[in-house]
Structure formats: C-alpha cells, structure tokens
Symmetry: C2
C-alpha cells in the first residue's frame, strides 16, 4: 500500500476517519507507525496528501486528514477506457488491480465468441466483490479515482449501441485500438501522446474471431501489436497500458 485509501464508509466527520481492516494492519505491521506519525492518504475519488495518526491500538487506527491536495481527474490524460473480453475470474482480479493501479477511467467487460458463458455467473461481477481489487490497485499505483466498471452481455449491441450511448458526451479526440497478433504496427504508430482519450480493446484468451475484429474495425478501431510474444490477458493489459504511458510521459 503506497497510499491508504479512505472512503465515506470510514469517515467520522469532515476530516476524521477510523479504519480497522487490512489498512489498520498495514499501518501497524508494515509501516510500523505510532500516534502522531504522518501517513500518506488518498480519499476515494478525491484528493491525496498527508494524514496524521491520532490514535492507534490493536483494533483500529484513527486518522486525521487536512489539506488534501485536490486532483482534477480531467487532467489525468490520456483518459483510458479499457474494453476487455470478460476473462475467467482469477484473471479478472488481476485486470481489476491493474486498472486501479494504472489509472484506467472505465472498464467495459464484454462478451466475445471465446468468452465462456459461465464467467457471467461469477460472484466477482458484483460491485461489492470487484471493488476491493480496484482499490488495491489505487493503493498500489498511488492515486484515487475509482475506475467505473460496466458489464455487457452481448458483443454486437455493445459496439453498435452501448458504446455510442455511453460516449455521447465525450467530445474529445479518441484513439481506438485493439492488439491482435495479425498486426505489426506498434502503438506508437497510432499514438504520439496527443489524443486526449484512448479506447483500448483487449481480447479473450485465444483472441478475437474474424467477425469481432471486422466489427471493431467498422467502428473505427485500429489493429495494433504489443510485440512479438503471445501474452496472457493480464499481461496484455499491463503491456498496452505501459506502452501508452511511455509514449504519453515521454512526449510531455
């Protein structure tokens, strides 16, 4: 935990919080902090800064937060929305963590031909079950915006209707890409650090089927490569986000 993430559930009054779960344990056993010590705090979907420990015992940790630095999430460019063919639950946990860690704005979990129907019955698709993985990612990556997750049951209606409806208020220039082994065009052929938004689609284990790649291309998605090796879904997500990040930061 590089940031202790606090939310309204932990709040006592405007700037006092109490935690008693793994965050308290982390403060006690890993950071080994005492009363009066400062600690790095992030408010879920809010600011971040230094907090102070006002009380600590084996049950709980009380924290006071003041002068949090507000973050304008609109400045968090490029705004990355990740479309991911719903992976099996163990992989989804890793993808959720990475989305939190690497500041993905939205995660669209969609159906694809090679997605097993049974994955849609996983309890992990409940908000209360997947949110902890997102928060663990925020805490690791050191920022506070919780990614928005939506779950879509069908492939074609997602691209034909849902995506357009969700995005109708996004006026900024959007780059749409999807990695596929057929391509030899690296992401830096499409993205020079300029686009304000990126829609990135990551396929299922085994890849997209031709109908799917054609549908995406018809909706303005360009096929790209992540490199010479065949990656697992969780690695493909990290690889694509890291490549985008290098282009963005390297061109600032």
């Amino acid at each position: 935990m590089n940031l202790i993430i606090l939310s309204d559930k932990d709040r006592i009054d405007e700037d006092h919080f109490i935690v008693s779960d793994n965050r308290a344990e982390h403060i006690r056993s890993i950071l080994k902090l005492s009363e009066g010590d400062p600690v790095e705090i992030g408010i879920l979907n809010g600011g971040q800064g230094k907090g102070k420990i006002t009380e600590i015992d084996s049950e709980k940790v009380c924290l006071m937060t003041k002068k949090m630095e507000e973050v304008d999430f609109d400045d968090l460019t490029p705004q990355i929305d990740l479309i991911c063919a719903l992976p099996r639950p163990q992989t989804l946990k890793k993808v959720l963590l990475t989305c939190g860690m690497m500041a993905v704005r939205r995660l669209y979990l969609i159906r694809a031909n090679r997605v097993e129907k049974s994955y849609y019955h996983s309890p992990l698709l409940e908000s209360e079950n997947y949110t902890p993985f997102l928060i663990e990612g925020l805490s690791q990556g050191k920022h506070t915006r919780l990614p928005e997750v939506t779950i879509h049951q069908r492939f074609k209606p997602f691209f034909e209707d849902s995506l357009a409806a969700i995005e109708k208020n996004d006026k900024s220039e959007t780059l749409r890409i999807f990695p596929d082994p057929q391509s030899n065009q690296t992401i830096n052929r499409f993205y020079d650090g300029g686009a304000a938004r990126i829609l990135l689609a990551i396929g299922p284990e085994g890849g997209w089927v031709p109908f799917e790649t054609e549908m995406m291309q018809a909706h303005g998605f360009q096929m790209c490569t992540l490199g010479r090796w065949i990656l697992r879904v969780e690695h493909a997500v990290t690889a694509a986000l890291s490549q985008i990040e290098m282009i963005h930061v390297g061109n600032e």
Copy 2:
C-alpha cells in the same frame, strides 16, 4: 499453451517424443486433437514447427516432429538480461513466467537492502522447481530459448565482480538501465531500438536504497521511469519489457 515445449526428457528417438503430463492433458482436453492431427511444437532450446500426433490415449500422447525451423537465438535482439532484486516466492513465479514469455536471455536474482534474507531459503530457487515456470512462459510466449537463471547472495560483489566476469565475452553495445521513481526519463530517451543488448535492473518492493542506485550508476546504469504509477515488481518487469519491445519492433 501456444506451443507444446518438448525436451530431451520426452525424447524416444531423433524425431519421436512421448508426453504424459499437463501437455498431454492440454492436447486432449483443450486442443481436443486426435491421432494424425498436427500440433505446434517447440524443442527446448531448439527449433519450432509442426509436429504430428501418432498415438493418443488417456495416459499419453506420442508425437512425431519433422522439419523443425531452426531459430538463431543470436537474432533475438535486443538480448535482454534482467537483474531482479530477489522477490518473495509468489512474485518470483510471476517474474519467471514473464521472463520465459517475453524472451529474456538471462535472469540474475540478486540481493538488495530491501530483500528479505528468508527469500534465499525458498525451495523455488532450485532449478527443478523454477524451470517449470520458465517453460510455462515459453509455451505462452511461443518461443524456445530457456532463460539462464543465476542467484547471487550479495549486492556489491555482484556489480563489482560477477557481472563483469559473466559479461566478459559480450562484446556488443549494451544499454544499462534501471527504473526508479526519481526519474522522469522514459526508456525511449535512452533506447532507440539500436542497442544489441540491454541490462535492465528491477528493484525490490519499496525500491532501491541510495547506496544501491549510486553503485548502479557508477557501473553505467541509467535511471529511467516506467510512468506515473508505482508498479509492483511483476508489473514493473512486464511494463519495462513491453516498452523495450515496442521501441524495438516499432523501429524495425
């Protein structure tokens, strides 16, 4: 498994092999292949190509390999040697898989201030225990060169003696880099796709201490950033290798 990796242990004669472990199970249950079907084969540290199933039952799969395409591993540029502060065993498994998957040539596991001594007692540091994770990575990434792993007990002697001794026969131009949160220089500031070899050093959870970064800099390592977020060790490995891969492939 995108490639069934075969080794001398599986060999019956020059071009016949028998497997009875998870590879046989994969051929039966996932690929659902029958006698006479072709299957993608890689010979450990050797060629790759199409094999044929000559016999299959619930116990074993017999394979015939012919006309394997030889791979010249010297062409696998950039040759990436990864120095990694020894992580806890669960993380090491992920790093090993990634090294196999993304064609790392050598993995040096080294001591650092923030490496726990107990990690050196893990049974995972035995070749017979770590090799399966490397092979799983090869099988995923679709190539056949087994990364060489060496384990080093001390930090300073590694940089002062061991590294020079191991590398004395490597004459080609080598880029030496290590990611650190202090830097804002992305890898593409140092690497344009040209260097034939890259030595990449990934620190422990919590990062390198100043003595370590100074020692590496004294040995020609340049500090770089992987981006704005604090990554876990396994993600830092994937991120750095992916960024290098994009620069290399994108500039071919």
